[in-house]
Structure formats: C-alpha cells, structure tokens
C-alpha cells in the first residue's frame, strides 16, 4: 500500500471519527432544556449547528478521500506489497517514547498531590533530564533549579496555593 493511500485511509478514519462525534453529540442535545418561549433559542440550538457543520465537513472529507482513492487507483499500477516497512511510516520507537513521556507526566501529576510540588517537580525534571543526558549531577541540578523557579514565581510571587511538603508557604522577604 502506498503512503498516499495509507494517508487517505487514515483521513477517512479521522473523518469517520468526527461523524461519530457529531452523531453522538446530536443525540446528547436531545436532553438539553427546551426554549423558554416560542422563538427563543434554546441551549441545544448552537451545539446542534456546530455538530451539523462538523458532520457535513466530515462527510465531505470522506467523499473527497474516496474520490482521491479512486483516481489514484485508476492512475497507478498496483504496486506489490512491500516486505520491508514503509520509510514514511512512524518510527516504532516514537510511539514507545510517547507512552514513556505520557506515563512520566501522568505520574508527576498523580504524585504531586501526595508528595508535594517540590518532590514531584524534582523527581520529574531529574528523571526526564537523566533520560536524555545520562548525567546524574546535571539531572539533579536541573530538578533543583526547576523547583526553585516554580517555588519563587508561583508560590511566593503569585501566591498560588501549591501542595508543599518541605518548603514554607510564606517567606518573610
């Protein structure tokens, strides 16, 4: 399968997803409160307008992709299925790396509430920097610098009520 055909199928999947969103959303709008007076716009009117437009654009997108596929099928001879992976395809490592990044971020957000901002930020930044540089000292210094920046700017200067474990909430300047 050529990469342009692959792209077309991905696009059809995307447009199909938006048609589903539009359909599901439209069903949801049936439960919205009715207009107060005749001629008065109800709360369902605008979401329905947006959902209808979304559905129409997505359907048009599918039609255009199908047109493109039929044209390319007519124009190109059938290529043999490549045994080697497509060069344009996403590197398998990037999906794994994305999940690693996501897991680290999720862990950071989850633990920040329990262990405090300073520990959460220190661990997250140090771990991420260590992952990239493999240098322990650089990682720890980066983590400490990040904690200092967040603490001084957000907790002290802007008085954001961050969860803190060790550092004092107020400093006498």
């Amino acid at each position: 399968m050529t990469s342009s055909r692959q792209k077309s199928f991905i696009n059809i999947g995307l447009y199909g997803f938006f048609i589903l969103v539009a359909g599901f959303g439209y069903l949801q709008t049936n439960g919205f409160p009715q207009p107060l007076l005749p001629g008065y716009p109800g709360s369902a009117m605008f979401p329905r307008l947006a959902l209808t437009l979304m559905g129409v654009f997505a359907a048009a997108g599918i039609a255009l992709e199908l047109l493109r596929l039929s044209r390319s099928a007519a124009a190109e001879p059938q290529a043999p299925v490549p045994l080697a992976p497509d060069e344009d395809a996403e590197e398998p490592t990037s999906a794994r790396d994305f999940l690693i990044v996501l897991a680290m971020l999720a862990s950071f957000v989850a633990v920040m509430q329990w262990v405090g901002m300073e520990v959460g930020v220190l661990l997250f930044v140090a771990a991420m920097v260590y992952f990239v540089t493999r240098r322990a000292l650089t990682s720890i210094l980066s983590g400490v610098a990040a904690v200092a920046v967040v603490y001084v700017i957000f907790c002290q200067l802007l008085s954001v009520f961050m969860p803190l474990t060790f550092l004092p909430r107020y400093l006498n300047w």
Binding site: T29, G39, F46, A50, L53, G61, E91, V101, V109
Partner: protein, 504 residues
Amino acid sequence: MFDAFQQFMPALFLVGDPLNIVLIVLGVFIGTAFGILPGFGGSQALALMFPFTFFMEPASAIMFMLSIYSGAEYGGSIPAILIKTPGTSAAIMTLLDGSPMARKGRPRRALQISNVSGVIGGLLSSVIFIFSASGLAWVGLQFGPSELFAVGIVGLTIVGGFVGGEPIKAFIGCTLGLLLSTVGDSTFGGTRLTFDFPFLYDGVPLIVMIMAFLAAPEGFRLMLAALSGGRGYGAPNQPQGTLIASSAEDGFGFRDFIKILPASIRGGLIGTAIGALPGPGPTVAAVVAYNEEKRWSKDRDRFGQGVDDAIAAPESSNNAVVAGAMVPALALGVPGTGAIAILLGVLVSKGIVPGPTLFSEGGPLVMSVFLGLVACNIALLLVGWFGIRFFVPIAYVPAKLLAPFIFVLLVVGAYAYDNSVTHVVMFLVIGVFAYVLEKIGVSPLPVILGFVMGPIIETNLGRALIINRGDIVAALSHPIAAGLLLLALAIIVGSTVSMVRKKA
C-alpha cells in the same frame, strides 16, 4: 464613537503607569529569551505566560503579552545571526544575510540592524493603526447582532481556509472549537455536554485549551526529540567565542541607520499589510519583504553575502506583523496567527469582547494596545541594543533539555487556574488529543479560534433570533450579514475546490 485623539491621553496615562512599563520591559525580556530558543515562537511563549495574566488588569495583561510577542519575533533573529539556527521560523530570512555578516566579523552590526529595523517596522505599523482606528470604529457602529454573528463565521472560514494544510480538516477544527466552547452552563438554560461531571459545569477553561492546543504539542515534540535522537545531546556544534568575535569594522552608526531606513519602511509596510490578512503571519511577511527587497535592490547579486537591507527588510516586516495582525483581531475578532488568538483569549478572559463594537465601546483600551505596542518597541530597542551580550548565552542552551521545564510550567500553570488537579488532568487529556490531531493534520489554530469565538457567535446569533422572533431567515438576511455569510460560503467552497485541484 471612537475618537482616536480623545482616547489618546487616557491611553497614554494607562501605558505610562509604572507597573505597565515594568511589565512591558519584563515581557520584552521574556519574549526575547523565548524567541532565542530554537523551536519556541511567539505562540508557545504566550501560551506558557498566559497563567500570569490572571493576576493583571486587562490593559496590563494585553501589554505584557504584546511585549512578549514582539520580543519573541525579535529574539528569533539572534541565534539565526550568531549560530545559524533561527529561533523562530520568521527569522529564516534574517539568517540568509545575518549569518554571513556575522561570519565576516560583524555580528554586532547584524544584530543591531535586526534590532533597529524591527523597531522601525513595529513603530510604523502601530502608527498606521492609530490613524486608521477611527474608520474602523465607524464600521463597528453599523454592525448589529446579525452582522456580528456573520463576521464571526467569516473569521472562522478565513482562518480555516488559509491556515495551511487541508481546509476540510481546518473547518472541522473550527467546529470542534465551537462545540468545546458550549460545554458547561448555558446562558440559554441548563448545562450542556457535561456528562454529569461536576468539573465540567464551568466548561473547559480557556487557559487549559490554549496551553493544551498551542504549547503541549510543542512540549511533546521537544520531549520526543530529546528521547529519540537527543540522548547525550549536549553543547551546540559551534564554539561560543569564535562566532561573536568582532572585527574593527563591526558597528552601527547614525549614517547606517539612515541607509537602512528605506528598506525598513518598505519591510514595515509589507509586514503591516500581510499582518492584517488572517493566515500568513510573520514568516510569510519576512519572505515577501526579503524577495521584494532583492527584486528592487541594486545590490541584488550580493544578497546572501551579508547585505544590510537584506537583514533590515525581513526584520522590519516580521515585527510589523504584530500591530498589523491586531487590526483584524480587534476590529473583526479574526486572529491571523496562533499568537494573536491567545491575545484575543486574554481579552475574552478579562470579559472584553473583540469585534467591531470594541472600537466604539472599549474606551481607551484599544488605543492603549497600540500605544503599548509603541512602548514595546522602544523597550525592544533598548533591551536589544544593550542586552545582546546577556541574551547570547541563551542561544547555546540545548532546547531539547528544556522540555521537562516547559511541561512543569504548563502543569503548574493549569494547576494555578483554581488550585485543583482536575484542570491539570484536563490539560493533559486535551494536550494529548491536540498532539494526535496535529500529527494527523488538524491545525490547532482553528480549534482555538472556534473556542474563543464560540460564545461571541452564539450570543449574537441568539440576540439576532430574539430580535427577529425566532425567524432565522429574517435574522440573517440583513444586507451586510447576508453578504458576509455568502463570502464565508465562497471561502469554504473556493478553498476546498482549490485543494481538490492541487491534489488531482
């Protein structure tokens, strides 16, 4: 009626407030520092700094953000000249002649031309706006709810049609933004699309949307780049000292200023005009200004070897885009770039509705925006002139290492919205969704624009329907409204047909 001269003095006092002056200088510093970092442009800097505006008055917030944007546009040229790595995409044209000039032993001259011409472009476009504001206010007075609804729709279709990539995806992005803007309590009664989650009753906060759609994808890209190719990523490839060594000819005097003035003015005019068009942004402005300068120059054969005018024109042009882009943004609510969409978001978060009536009802705020831009440019001149040595080391910080810091700032920024982890989770979920959407070709700009414009469009449609007793045909058949809606339809059809022809 908006009288530019009547609003001048109150706006001047607003801009001259010591706190605002400090914010402008600070914003220029922060923006320049962000602009220097490769991969970070005005949009990302503004998205990161958005949470700080919660603590500011509307005029202060908008001036702070404008100064960050102006600083970022200038900052991008510093690494372009010194280490041949443009900090922002608009600085690519500056690189063509700035880098050769630096390598010939005149880095200070290249940086000062970039600084001075950028300031000329910024001042020129601000002054042009100040003199055209009264006319825009008159236009604003002709607009009722039907026309304002139609203007909103035209704005969405213009950005959708010209944002680049596939227009159908951009239009879907607009509708997605409109839909997300309806989540939560409705002014027409009840709650919408909350799925009984209490944290959705107040809707999706604008700050969460902006950070998730404009900053998170860049953060993910930086992190993934660091993880996949950047293990052991260290110092940049070139030693710091050798590139900023100056020769005896390095310098920039008053005669040089007079020499670059015409090119800077031409670049400024091009930037103002292109900035007023939704879509192209500073990069296109810089490219057009460079090409026009080359076309008309007597030295066109020397372009690419370090010609003064070849640095001055694109730099002036990309800085002039800032004020130029504010005109359709404030007058019609149509932001041409992601950065301007965030600036509109700042206004909306402060309860100020962008659109034609802002000029007639906004008091000195509109004038203060443009006088603020003048002040930004003066600050940019001083910061750029005296602070170059201070900024140069930033160009050598590996950008990929900054990704964790960026995410920490984003997470803490989302947390600071209401001291709750709920919005942090919301930011992460939407951020991942935005990253995936961007990977498959849905630009974040139309989504953000739809989200910002959604409540304005809905309110005006509602008002138009109430005035016309629910008759939608009567509501939308006013001459200006009908004309604008036909224009929107033409843009949708035209851009789709053009895409089909291109791909055929």
